[in-house]
């Protein structure tokens, strides 16, 4: 008696639940009352947050030392952009930071892609390089920063190196993954068209791995950008991280918030542009073709 009943209940569940769920997933806008897109809701959240910030600070509920009003942050933006803070304008700080990240990124791309290809193709390279990368990758950059300073001093090299290390691992790992996943039939098709080993690498393996390499760059750039503040703790005289650090020491809270906001906006812009680049360079991934 009981087992049969359970069977019936199970049946009706498995029949009803997924179908309703999949209908909703397939076409979220089709549900009645679903007038807001995800983007609109996100925008509204930001607007509400900004309004709450404005209301609490203007009403004097929080001291400006802890949370300055949006107006004063905006005013500071104008001031730092034109007159500067700690001997450099906002743009100079921004340029210094972007310059470091860009240097580190170029070096990481140039070195990590060949590393990833080697790991993906060769058993020996995999055996040697994989443990090295996996050993340092999970360590927070701040933990090995002192060692880098002891070895390379407090100049630009140490800062760029720290960011470089943060970007290098994700790109190398993603490249290796992409290289390993290259479709066997595509390789065979190229071989039966007469491809040499080098041509396989150049015309099949590398292009196949491009989407994965771009994902690696996107992840690497994210971690690299967040390592920036740590890197600029090392005797920097300019940079967004340095600006936030020194503003905090002098309790200039509005510059701290301004710095954080600029760091966040840049990170967001980098993420979006790399996604756009990915869609441009590997549109077939959107179509479900790997």
């Amino acid at each position: 008696m009981t087992p049969i009943e359970i069977g019936i209940v199970d049946d009706s569940l498995s029949a009803a639940v997924p179908s309703a769920a999949s209908r909703r997933a397939a076409n979220p806008a089709a549900l009645p009352g679903n007038l807001l897109t995800v983007n609109t809701i996100s925008m509204l959240t930001l607007v509400v947050l900004l309004a709450a910030w404005w209301a609490t600070t203007t009403a004097g509920l929080i001291a400006p030392l802890f949370l300055p009003s949006p107006q004063s942050v905006l005013g500071k933006f104008w001031l730092v952009a034109t007159k500067g803070f700690m001997d450099s304008t906002l743009w100079q700080h921004l340029a210094a930071s972007l310059g470091r990240v860009l240097c580190a990124l170029v070096a990481a791309i140039v070195l990590a892609i060949p590393t990833g290809i080697a790991i993906g193709l060769s058993r020996v390279a995999h055996g040697i390089l994989d443990p090295l990368i996996e050993l340092y990758r999970p360590v927070p950059p701040l933990a090995y920063l002192p060692l880098i300073v002891i070895w390379f001093g407090i100049g630009e090299l140490s800062k760029v190196l720290l960011i470089f290390l943060a970007i290098y691992a994700p790109i190398a790992i993603a490249t290796a993954g992409g290289v390993r996943q290259v479709s066997q039939n595509r390789l065979r098709a190229a071989q039966s068209l007469g491809a040499t080993r080098f041509q396989l690498l150049r015309y099949v393996v590398l292009p196949s791995a491009v989407p994965d390499i771009l994902t690696g760059i996107r992840i690497g750039l994210g971690t690299g950008w967040s390592t920036l503040v740590a890197a600029e703790l090392v005797a920097a005289t300019s940079g967004l991280g340095f600006m936030v650090q020194s503003a905090a020491q002098f309790l200039v809270t509005d510059v701290v918030i301004l710095g954080i906001a600029v760091i966040a906006i840049i990170a967001f812009a980098l993420e979006l542009s790399l996604r756009a680049l990915s869609r441009r360079l590997a549109p077939w991934r959107e179509q479900g073709i790997s």
Binding site: R186, R188, L193
Partner: protein, 262 residues
């Protein structure tokens, strides 16, 4: 004209059940202008046989010769068309078709001209610049066919090229393949598990039996030849001889199955 000889080939996959060969003592000749079709149930070693001829796989014993030269690896003289088109999605249709010529170092103008001519053969004019992921399955398979043909191989090998297509498209592709075969006068080796396809296309039908994979039956047919000489596919397939042959092959397949299950 080339001659492909498969001489007493046996394949044991490492790690597979002891004693059972994927292919055992298979011999076969693919002569000039033949269209050899290997038919057999799943797991009887069809793909293994094709991979051997293509050079992706080495036989455990026996040898494969193309014009008296030992086949030792993949090469452009043996073109392959895959079931999942295996096209390169970062290249457009034209560049995919010209890919083999590019690997050979042919100039861009020259290889594009050849690719264009080959696309005409497979009725894909007007799609040169399209990305391949915008094409239907049947069109993609035609690009795969054109890519294989453009490289001008001596033998064309096709591994269940139409298996993923709907019935209507599949028939169109079969007729296209026969037209191409007459036009280019190359030898073709095709594998399929579709009985009607095998009987319709083959000049030489090889029936494989599973575990171990062996040649169970060989037959010479002429339905494909008749179609390429102008007789319509409908009239051939509804003819008495075609139906009788099809039923005969079906009975062979069933007889085999009974032997292997008892």
């Amino acid at each position: 004209m080339s001659r492909l000889v498969i001489d007493q080939v046996t394949v044991h996959y490492p790690g597979s059940a002891r004693g059972v060969a994927a292919l055992e003592d298979v011999s076969l000749v693919i002569g000039p202008e033949q269209l050899v079709v290997a038919l057999g149930p799943s797991g009887c070693g069809k793909t293994t046989l094709l991979n051997l001829i293509a050079g992706f796989l080495q036989p455990t014993s026996g040898r494969i010769l193309l014009d008296d030269r030992l086949v030792s690896g993949p090469s452009a003289e043996r073109g392959v068309v895959f079931q999942d088109d295996a096209l390169l999605p970062w290249l457009n249709v034209l560049d995919n078709v010209a890919f083999g010529l590019q690997l050979r170092g042919m100039s861009r103008a020259e290889r594009e001209a050849t690719a264009h001519r080959t696309l005409q053969l497979v009725d894909l004019v007007g799609f040169e610049q399209n990305p391949i992921w915008q094409l239907s399955g049947g069109m993609r398979q035609r690009v795969g066919l054109a890519r294989g043909l453009a490289a001008d191989p001596r033998v064309l090998l096709l591994d269940e090229p139409f298996a993923a297509l709907d019935a209507f498209t599949r028939e169109q592709m079969q007729e296209l393949l026969l037209r191409l075969w007459r036009k280019i006068r190359k030898q073709i080796f095709l594998i399929t598990h579709d009985l009607e396809e095998a009987v319709f296309l083959a000049t030489d039908l090889i029936l494989l039996s599973p575990r171990p994979g062996r040649v169970a039956e060989r037959m010479q047919l002429d339905f494909g030849l008749r179609h390429s000489q102008g007789e319509s596919a409908r009239s051939i397939k509804s003819g008495r001889r075609f139906i009788e042959t099809r039923e005969y092959v079906l009975s062979l397949v069933f007889a085999q199955r009974e032997v292997s299950t008892t």
